[in-house]
Symmetry: C2
Subunit: 326 residues, 2 copies
């Protein structure tokens, strides 16, 4: 193991000078700097981050706990977190909780043990993070408790979807609701009902996990029993795309017989046929903002806004007939 003393010896300077150079906390003359750089290269010296972590009790690592990187919403989110972390000199530890509170707790504890500088969590339940002694940011799903968070305005989003569905002329809807333990599922239902309440439209509410195949199966079964359905809202694009597949299998033409609107704005929605009309979250901005909010806390900067809400946008593609908005 090459130490700072080996570098000092080779560069013919004091260990204190090498330390100043590495930690960038003091003047090092040009000649010494060059000699140190040369010695570091020659000896293949790697400054010891772990030792630094131990003395400062803080590493340059950020934990990211999400339900499942395979759900197409999360890769873009994770990417934004990682890009932002990289920009500020942090690395990201990825943890998949599978919407399992126990696994979530396990990771939370494991991350704390590694002295991560902070944790970003898309939590299944609202309790986690309560006892955190390190900075934490809730992402995508706002917990009840009082921690910094970055979320999408779900109510506004589904209100737009509901209004657009009405404008496109749908009369009987299947509302595919997300898992009930998620606050976002309830918010999305609330916004949608707000838009269609009192209007001449019938809404059937059916819950589905965020899984293509299950959503396809549920929709297939439901449409077989309810042949008058002419509109489907999926609380996530995964649900909407599962529903689209079910329509295809039942030879129900989209958007002629049945119109579909999703929620999320994942890349995949561009590549279905017909392409998916959806309430697009600004996924990249969500991840970026969460990472910035976390790093601000880690670096002791003051936070002007603790609970940041980002507005989504209706992206009209081919699974809806043209409404008044177009």
């Amino acid at each position: 193991m090459v130490t700072i003393h080996d570098v000092a010896k080779r560069a013919n300077v004091s260990a204190a000078t090498v330390s100043r150079y590495i930690n960038k906390n003091g003047y090092v003359g040009k000649k010494s700097r060059e000699a140190i750089e040369h010695a570091i290269k020659e000896l293949n010296f790697v400054p010891n981050n772990v030792a630094r972590t131990l003395s400062t009790k803080q590493s340059n690592m950020i934990g990211l706990i999400i339900p499942d990187i395979k759900n197409p919403f999360f890769p873009e989110l994770a990417r934004a977190v990682e890009d932002t972390a990289y920009k500020y000199g942090y690395t990201v530890i990825l943890c998949n909780s599978d919407e399992n509170p126990k696994k979530e707790q396990h990771y939370f504890k494991a991350l704390t043990q590694e002295y991560v500088a902070g944790v970003i969590i898309t939590s299944t339940h609202s309790g986690n993070g309560q006892e955190a002694t390190i900075p934490i940011v809730a992402l995508d799903r706002a917990p009840i408790m009082d921690i910094p968070s970055v979320t999408t305005n779900n109510i506004l989003g589904t209100e737009m979807a509901g209004r657009y569905m009405l404008e496109c002329g749908a009369k009987e809807l299947l509302f595919l609701k997300g898992p009930k333990q998620l606050i976002s599922s309830e918010q999305r239902l609330k916004g949608f009902l707000k838009a269609v309440e009192g209007k001449n439209i019938k809404v059937h509410i059916v819950e589905s996990p965020y899984d293509f195949k299950v959503a396809e199966h549920i929709t297939f079964q439901f449409l077989q029993k309810h042949s008058t359905i002419d509109g489907i809202f999926g609380s996530s694009d995964v649900l909407a795309i599962g529903a689209l597949k079910a329509c295809e299998k039942l030879n129900r033409s989209v958007p002629n017989d049945i119109q579909i609107i999703g929620f999320d704005g994942i890349q995949l929605g561009n590549y279905t046929t017909p392409s998916l009309t959806t309430v697009a979250q600004n996924i990249y901005k969500l991840g970026e903002t969460a990472a910035e909010l976390l790093i601000q806390q880690i670096e002791g900067k003051s936070i002007t806004e603790k609970n940041i809400v980002i507005n989504p946008e209706l992206v009209v593609r081919e699974t809806t007939r043209k409404g008044f908005l177009q």
Copy 2:
């Protein structure tokens, strides 16, 4: 900061006993064990992994360097690595290199500084990892150098695709080749040509980055100039799905006018219309095997097979007309 001494004092045992309990390296009586557990809970004591890392020069973290988690091939791969790591008590640091050798090197160095136990890398170039002093596994893309690797049998895969394309009756093909700096791109071309060489079939080879939109654009342009194309092979599903979108925009019916085969077996291929015929890699097994191979090295176990090659499988869906294999 609660220390081992605080726990010892509260539990009324010696610090050595607490240390034996935490590190599981010696006998601790039932009464002492219960007292220690009680004290740990009461004091909210967290054993210090970082200090342990410093003394053993090895953490329980694994670095995973991939090109881009947004490319739909990688979330499943990353998930498999993380699942396996979790099973063996490791956590995963995720790094996106953007196929940029400099960023790759930066991460490689950063991970070494954190004393990760090992690194799994899907490298853009064959040079990285050469000077690694920690265990390393090359994943998906086999480097030239002599490090452990887990890859798909690309040549076998595209040979199957080429033969099936012939059996389905295609006469003039567009072969969308992956980026030229990747060994896998060359292997996939080689296998395909092996199958169609000397047969009554014309092949145009065009390179495309692994990007939906670019592949769509390239295919759109190419098909406008070459109206006799009746088959497209995409060296990745992303390329094949981009090509499918181009056919749709040009009103070329798939599979009646043009047949398409992809490579990878990503989930998305199920959700295009028509669904994508593809050479499916066993993505989960690739990631799982790579993590196991790395952990075997980390834990000093002997490795029976250093370069593991996993066979892909042809998955026939709707973008091809039925061939003899069906």
